[in-house]
Symmetry: C3
Subunit: 334 residues, 3 copies
Amino acid sequence: MFSLAFGVATKNSHGDWLEVYYPRPLINPDQAFVSMISSVLGYSQGNRVIEVNDEMTVKLSEIAEMEYLAVLRESVKPIVATLLEKDSSPKTVPEAYLKLHLLSHRLVHPNEVNLEGLFGVLPNVAWTDIGAIDPEELDLVQLNARINGRIVEVSSVDKFPKMTNYVVPSGVRIAHSARVRLGAYLGEGTTVMHEGFVNFNAGAMGPNMVEGRISQGVTIGSGTDIGGSASTAGTLSGGGNTLITIGQECLISANAGTGIPLGDRCTIEAGLYITPGTLVQVMDERKKNIAVVKARDLAGHSDMLFLRNSQTGVVECRSNKKAIELNKMLHTNK
Amino acid sequence: MFSLAFGVATKNSHGDWLEVYYPRPLINPDQAFVSMISSVLGYSQGNRVIEVNDEMTVKLSEIAEMEYLAVLRESVKPIVATLLEKDSSPKTVPEAYLKLHLLSHRLVHPNEVNLEGLFGVLPNVAWTDIGAIDPEELDLVQLNARINGRIVEVSSVDKFPKMTNYVVPSGVRIAHSARVRLGAYLGEGTTVMHEGFVNFNAGAMGPNMVEGRISQGVTIGSGTDIGGSASTAGTLSGGGNTLITIGQECLISANAGTGIPLGDRCTIEAGLYITPGTLVQVMDERKKNIAVVKARDLAGHSDMLFLRNSQTGVVECRSNKKAIELNKMLHTNK
Amino acid sequence: MFSLAFGVATKNSHGDWLEVYYPRPLINPDQAFVSMISSVLGYSQGNRVIEVNDEMTVKLSEIAEMEYLAVLRESVKPIVATLLEKDSSPKTVPEAYLKLHLLSHRLVHPNEVNLEGLFGVLPNVAWTDIGAIDPEELDLVQLNARINGRIVEVSSVDKFPKMTNYVVPSGVRIAHSARVRLGAYLGEGTTVMHEGFVNFNAGAMGPNMVEGRISQGVTIGSGTDIGGSASTAGTLSGGGNTLITIGQECLISANAGTGIPLGDRCTIEAGLYITPGTLVQVMDERKKNIAVVKARDLAGHSDMLFLRNSQTGVVECRSNKKAIELNKMLHTNK
């Protein structure tokens, strides 16, 4: 079995799922445990979402390995068991939420789990201080709160909730949680500052300092810093089809950006945006000009320093490699 | 009559208005309906703000067209009726809030309603999870909450509240609602991402992807995307006096910005900021240089691609028009 | 005595301090008052943190000068008295929080108070709508809230809370409070817009319009505006060791940035980032080229306009000074 979890769910007034909170999602659970659970739930095979009734929660709470199930027994909200035999594309809200949980619980890395059709499956939700509300049902809830002297605080109207209301992984700081979606992967030792942003299925391997935007699909390696307002072009937001990976010990400086993947120990100077089509003057370790290439031809290489010469306006890629190595590298790439 | 609405209001301890929530504002309401309402409220003419007493709410709740008035009857908070015979400059808090509601309810477009003197009329408010509080009265409220083991969450201290606590228009996503002020206009199909921002009296006609900042007075046409951290210079924030309108199917890329209005199908490359005074090299459809002009002379034209040549540092405006057309266009403009 | 304050504190389940809220911190308190307090608390000398018991609060509440102490008497939360004889490096959470309060209450300016070792002293905290929670204890709190149909809203997981939940200084607007940390200094008349950010031990002397980021240690003088997404390189975030101060009446335009200190009346054009190593063409009042220098050699000077020539790509510093004055200034600096 690929994954298994019990969650506390919210439905709208029509009985449609809005969201599911899984406190302890499991990846590749122990087969003996699965068998035990299966007999209680009446599960046999396939990807299934099972609403857990009172009788089931009583039986489940007796299973020693999952003490928190005893707590679920007392839930006033619907309890759901989601069993994914295979990692196929999510078909229901509980399945989709389980996959987002797997990412944020660091049980899978970004781009490792099948999220095909995710946007179609996820409903748009008004995220409020009294929980998830169907946007079409919000109006009356707000009116009733207001006449009673309260207010419904609507933090977000989105298909994705903020991660920290579901899981806070160990060893991280997230200065402003509204900027990290459920489904983000934050490795140990990562700090996301107020201007940082991490989308779902994206993340920082840790440790990292994130003060800029990590778009959907993008990952950054350990020791890499993303400066304030720095941008990593995502495939969802006009960045083309190339998935952007940034290696270790890189620095994308403040207000800079990259539209190409980078290897290790690369730097982009503050304020410079490298798009795949940017013509770049490549220079060797003696600052001798080697070639002018499109930035996409440099994709994935290491030890590159990108800057715009402030005396000529030329975008340069300075390397600590020798001319002969650079020439070889550029030809290999093409 | 220009507009009419019933609202739930908050006052400070001195009885001054802090804010008004209007669940169903009306534009150009039916005259028969206005007459019916007027007799209950004792309204005759002009722009009036009337505090609705219990007797009035009982009578109003019997008027079939407005079933939500029955709900208002049970309010523990002050109920206000705001009747605007004409769209003159707002003189009171309830009037100002009604106009902001009209914008966010899509009953008027940005720059269509008289907001003269708005800043002077609106009080500064501490927006908290227990409602609107006068900043001068916050101190004691916070202290009392703290000693009782609670906390007053102060989300904002500002003249404008977040839109979503008042209205969530249909068909939108707002990933982080603190970035959209009441008075923003978000057309159907618009997504405002975490880094997006929409000021009051500004907006997206829809559908749009907004990941950058739409300043006061600025509007963007359908199909136009504003990339992450992209900037549209507003008249309130040092952008000069020209109101910026961006047409349809434009792309202001990530970390870019514009200080000039744009027509349709324009693109500004990532990281490039066009100010009105930027000298721009205009090129025809064969990339032949036509003229060097200030960006303000290109204001409002369509089919322009702005980029900074990464080999020369020259800011270029590439067009798909022929030289002869471009020459004509430039001369017409001057 | 350097400083003295009574606060309402939060501890985790192990009895470790998480945070302290000081409603009325004092700087250089009156010696007679200190003596009166000392006898109640049993304080003699040094920097001390004293947990105030019921007997003490009763006695303290009788001291006329501090009427709010009567309120503290009824606290269900721990009350703490923090007395700092000297401004030495903070050793405990209550000491650290007192210093952050002094800054935000405008009792000291940024860089005036000893914050050595602050990060080591401050614990990481989950800031929620039900107060400060130890991140390691959050899990169960969230689960229990969920099964009871509530949700714990986790706004931030950080060593610093948002300022506005502790103090809202007079005469400011903070459009989005998550972007101003406790320990920020906001002078009278300052507006921090949604994209603005102010770190601890940093600030705006007021009046200022802050739409960009004021990093740790950075201060801006009166009348200076920081445009949307503009960056001031901090010493904590890769900006080097030079503390950045920006004088009066400056404009760091939208999407621009500075890695050098600036005097008065300086402007950086939109989208241009000046790093210490940027080679800059200095021009006199007649736009005649005087010299090419590194930006760090211009640090702290006044009346400079920085822009990137859009016809040549050269970063220029235009001055209204004469050639002879500029030459002198550049030589003095070296």
